[in-house]
Symmetry: C2
C-alpha cells in the first residue's frame, strides 16, 4: 500500500505486547489501525511496542517504507471494527472472554470480514462456539515480536469459510508475514506444542537441580537454536543423516524413543517454590539488563539473522524478499525528465541496517546509493533488463568516491547524475549523493559498454546512443565538478 491508494483498516482488539505487535505491523505497512483495549495504560503500551517496531522493521527493507497508516484508539469494540477490512483479537487466554469479544465484534463488523485470534492454545472450533457467524473466526497465531517474526499459524475449522481464510492469508502476506496453514486443528496448534514440551522438560531440569535457567539457555542458543533459525527439525536431521538420508538418521536414533531421555511422561508440580527458584535464577542470569534493553538486544539480533537469511534468499529471508517485491511493484516510478542539469534519479532514506557502529551510514551504502542512481540512469537511456537479456550491458570499470559528510539514520538522500563524457563505448559519469541539497559523497565512475557473450567492449545500440548522446551534449555545458579526475590523496 502507498499513500496514493486508499488505506485499508485493521481493528486490533486487545492491546498488549501481542496486540501492539499486530498494530505495529499493520501501521508500518500502510494500514490504518483502530485499537480497542479498556486498559488505561493501553496507549502507552502500544506506543512502546510501536517505538520498537519503528526502530526495527525498516532495517529489514531495501526500499523506502510506505507512509505509515493512522493509529486511533476506539472507545468501544463497535467503533474499532467499523469499516475494518481485517480484525485481530488478542485478549487474555480465557475462552469465555474471547466468546464475549467475538459476539460484540459480530454485532457491527461487516459479514465477511476475517476475525483472527492470537490464541496460543484454543482450537478454532472452540473459538467459534455460539458465534453468530462462526465461518469468519479462525486462529491467526503470531510469535513475539510480532513486528519482526514472520510466522502466523492460520488454523481454520470445518466450519470456516475457505474464501475468508484465503483472504486472511493474502492480507497476512501483504504485511510481510508467513501464514502457515494448519490443516487439522489441535490444542496449541504446532509450534506451541514444541515450546510446551521444551518448557516442561526445562522445568524438571531446574527443579531437579541439573541446570540453571542460564545453563539451559546456553545449551539452546550455542547449539541447536542456531540450527533451527534457518532449517527446522527434519531438514537438519536429514543433513545429519548424510548421504544415507532420513531413513538412516531415523534408524540410528529410533531406539532412543524407548530410553528415559525426557521426563515428559509427567509434569512437575507448579508451586511457589518452583516459581521462586526459576524467577531467582532468571534474575541472576538477565537482571543486569532492563526488559527494554533486552527487547532492543533481541530485536537487533533478529534483524541480523533475518538480514543474513535475506542475503541468502532462504527461509524467513525469502519471505522478506517477496514482501519487497510486492512493495516495489506497488511503488510507481517518478517521471524522469532530462534537463541541462544533473539528473535527480534516486531517492532513499538511511535505514537502521545501513548504519555502522559509529552511528554513520556504512561505507558500502554510499556506493549502493550510487548504484541505485546509475541503474536508474541506465533504465532511462534504455539499457534496462530487457537490454541485458539481449546480451549487452554497461559494466563499471573504475570508481572514485569522495566522502564529504556523514549520513545518519533517517536522513533522506537524493542521487543525482551528471554525464562527464560519453561515446559509443564509454560512459563517464559523476554522481552526487545529496542531503538537503548538499553532497555527503560524490562518486565518479567509468562504465564500459560490453558484449556479454564475447566478454569485450562493443558499441552500444543506436537506440541507447540516441537517448544518451543528447544528454551528454546538454551536460557538456555544466562546469566540471572539482572532485572529478582526482586521485586518492591528491591535495585540493
Amino acid at each position: 500500500m502507498t499513500g496514493k491508494t486508499m488505506a485499508r483498516k485493521a481493528a486490533i482488539i486487545g492491546g498488549g505486547v501481542i496486540g501492539g505487535g499486530w498494530a505495529a505491523r499493520f501501521l508500518l505497512n500502510g494500514w490504518n489501525v483502530s485499537v480497542f483495549d479498556p486498559d488505561p495504560q493501553a496507549e502507552r503500551k502500544i506506543g512502546e511496542v510501536l517505538a520498537n517496531a519503528r526502530a526495527a522493521l525498516p532495517a529489514l527493507s531495501d526500499i523506502p517504507m510506505s507512509a505509515e497508516g493512522k493509529l486511533s484508539f476506539a472507545q468501544t469494540i463497535t467503533e474499532a471494527v467499523e469499516g475494518a477490512d481485517y480484525i485481530q483479537e488478542s485478549v487474555s487466554e480465557r475462552l469465555d472472554l474471547k466468546h464475549r469479544v467475538f459476539a460484540q465484534i459480530q454485532q457491527s463488523a461487516e459479514l465477511g470480514t476475517p476475525i483472527g485470534s492470537s490464541t496460543s492454545g484454543f482450537k478454532p472450533s472452540e473459538l467459534q462456539e455460539g458465534a453468530a457467524n462462526p465461518s469468519v473466526i479462525f486462529v491467526a497465531h503470531p510469535f513475539n515480536p510480532v513486528y519482526l517474526l514472520p510466522l502466523a499459524e492460520v488454523v481454520p475449522s470445518a466450519k470456516s469459510d475457505a474464501k475468508v481464510i484465503e483472504n486472511a492469508k493474502t492480507i497476512l502476506r501483504e504485511i510481510g508475514m508467513f501464514p502457515l496453514h494448519v490443516r487439522k486443528e489441535i490444542d496449541a496448534h504446532i509450534a506451541d506444542r514444541f515450546l510446551e514440551a521444551v518448557w516442561r522438560e526445562a522445568l524438571w531440569l531446574v527443579k531437579d537441580g541439573v541446570a540453571t535457567t542460564e545453563e539451559i539457555d546456553e545449551a539452546i542458543r550455542m547449539g541447536f537454536g542456531l540450527r533451527w533459525g534457518q532449517m527446522g527439525l527434519f531438514e537438519i536431521y536429514r543433513v545429519a543423516g548424510g548421504e544415507a538420508g532420513m531413513k538412516h538418521f531415523m534408524a540410528q536414533f529410533g531406539p532412543c524413543l524407548t530410553w528415559p531421555w525426557t521426563k515428559l511422561m509427567d509434569v512437575p508440580e507448579f508451586n511457589d517454590e518452583l516459581v521462586d527458584l526459576i524467577a531467582g535464577q532468571s534474575d541472576a542470569q538477565s537482571g543486569h539488563h532492563t526488559i527494554r534493553e533486552l527487547e532492543r538486544i533481541r530485536d537487533s539480533n533478529l534483524i541480523g539473522f533475518l538480514r543474513a537469511l535475506k542475503d541468502r534468499n532462504w527461509g524467513a529471508g525469502k519471505v522478506l524478499r517477496e514482501h519487497d517485491d510486492r512493495r516495489r511493484a506497488a511503488f510507481h516510478a517518478e517521471g524522469h525528465g532530462s534537463e541541462a542539469a544533473p539528473l535527480r534519479l534516486a531517492q532513499m532514506q538511511v535505514l537502521p541496517g545501513w548504519i555502522d557502529y559509529n552511528g554513520h551510514m556504512t561505507e558500502s551504502r554510499y556506493l549502493f546509493a550510487a548504484s541505485e542512481t546509475s541503474d536508474a540512469f541506465l533504465r532511462l537511456i534504455g539499457a534496462d533488463m530487457d537490454y541485458v537479456a539481449g546480451g549487452h550491458s554497461y559494466y563499471t570499470a573504475e570508481t572514485h568516491i569522495m566522502h564529504l559528510d556523514e549520513a545518519k539514520l533517517g536522513d533522506r538522500l537524493v542521487g543525482t547524475l551528471q554525464v562527464l563524457s560519453a561515446d559509443e563505448k564509454r560512459l563517464h559519469v559523476f554522481m552526487r549523493i545529496e542531503r538537503d541539497g548538499a553532497p555527503v559523497a560524490t562518486i565518479e565512475q567509468m562504465l564500459l559498454h560490453v558484449d556479454m557473450a564475447a566478454g569485450k567492449t562493443c558499441p552500444a545500440a543506436q537506440s541507447v546512443l540516441d537517448r544518451l548522446l543528447p544528454i551528454a551534449k546538454a551536460h557538456a555545458s555544466l562546469p566540471k565538478p572539482e572532485a572529478a579526475g582526482r586521485h586518492v590523496g591528491q591535495r585540493k
Copy 2:
C-alpha cells in the same frame, strides 16, 4: 596456536560426521590431528567434512587463520593416541564398544590426558565403568556441524579429576568452543533432552496427519527458532513477560502444564510405516537439494547468524570474539605484523543476495568486501569497537575502485591489505579483493584518524601507532601497486 609454536596433538577416535568435525576444528586451529577409524571410507569422509570446514570456519574469523595442523590417519588406536594432548572418542552409540575403545586408549595414552566422549546419551559414570583410569574419561558432547557450532556439553561424574576437566575446558575454548559444564549427570545431558522432547512430539504430529515435516520445519524456523539462536528459552520468556518479569510470565502460562498441549505422555510406535511416512515427506520437502548442497546452505546460514551475533557481541558471537582475541594476541606475539607482504585479512563467499541482474557481484559489494578487510585491519591494530566507544575512530575520506574482473555467485574471495603510508593521523591503504590469487577489484583508500566528539582529525593513540607503524615500515619495501594514485579514466 600458530606454526611457530610447537603444535599440540589431538587424537580423534571414530571418523564419521562428528569425529570429522572435531578433526576439522582442531586442525584449523593449528593442532596436529591423528584419526583412527577402521572404516576404509574414513579418509574420504573426513576429507569431505574438512572441505566444508575450510570453506566455512575462516569466514567467522577477523584475523588471519593459523597455519593448519597436520592430519594423519593411524592404523591403530595406540598409534593415534601416542603423544596426544587431548583425545576425543566419537564411535557408534554402543556402550560395550565405547568401553573397549577406552580400554585400548588407556593402554598407551599418557595418564592425565583428557578423554572426551561425543556420546549423545550415556552418562559419564556409565562410560567410566571398568576403566583403568576412570577419572580422565568424561562427556564432551558437541553439535553438528562441530566446526561451526560452539557448544560442547562437558559432563564429569563424581569420579572425574577436576583438574583434567578444567584442562579439557581450556582446550575446548582454545579451539573456539563454548564448554558448558553440566554439573549433574543425567541421560542425554541437557540439549538432547529438549531435542528428544521435540522429536517425539513431531513424530506424533506427522503420524496423526496434523502437519508434514515441511510444515513443522516452517513452524520452527519462521518463529521461535530465530528467537532461540540468540537468547534461550528463559530469557526470551522473561522479555515476553514484560516489565512484570518472569513471575508474571509463569503465572500466565503455568496453568497450561495441566492441559493436553503435548502428547509426550507416551511415545509413538516406531515402525516401518512411520519411517516411510517421514522419509517420504522429507524427500518432498528437501529432495531437490543434495545433502552436500544442504550442508553448504546450512553452513552459509550459520555463518550469517554467527557474524550477526559477532557484530553485536552477543551469545555465540561473544565466543567468537573471545576466540579472536586469543588468536590476535598470538598473532602479534609471533611478529606476523612485521612481514613484508600484504596481509590476508578477510575471506568471504559471494552470496545470492550479492548478485545483480547481470549475474555478477553487485558493485557495492566490492566496497563491502574492502570494508570487511579494512575493518579487520583496524581491529588488528587495536582500533576496535572499544576504541570507538572511547571517542576515536578512523573515517574513510576517499576511495578509488578498479574493477578488474567479475565475481560470480559462490566465488570465494580473499581481501588483502597493503599499507601505502601511515603517520599519526593518516592511513593510506591499498586493498585487493582476490579470487584464486588474482584480483577481481582493487580498492585504494585514505583514512583519517578523528576525534569523534570534536569532529576533526587528531593523532591516533600510541597503542594503535605501536602496532600500525611497524606494519607500515615493513610494507614500505613492497612495490607500489600500479593502480595506486590513479584517477578515473586515466590511461594505463
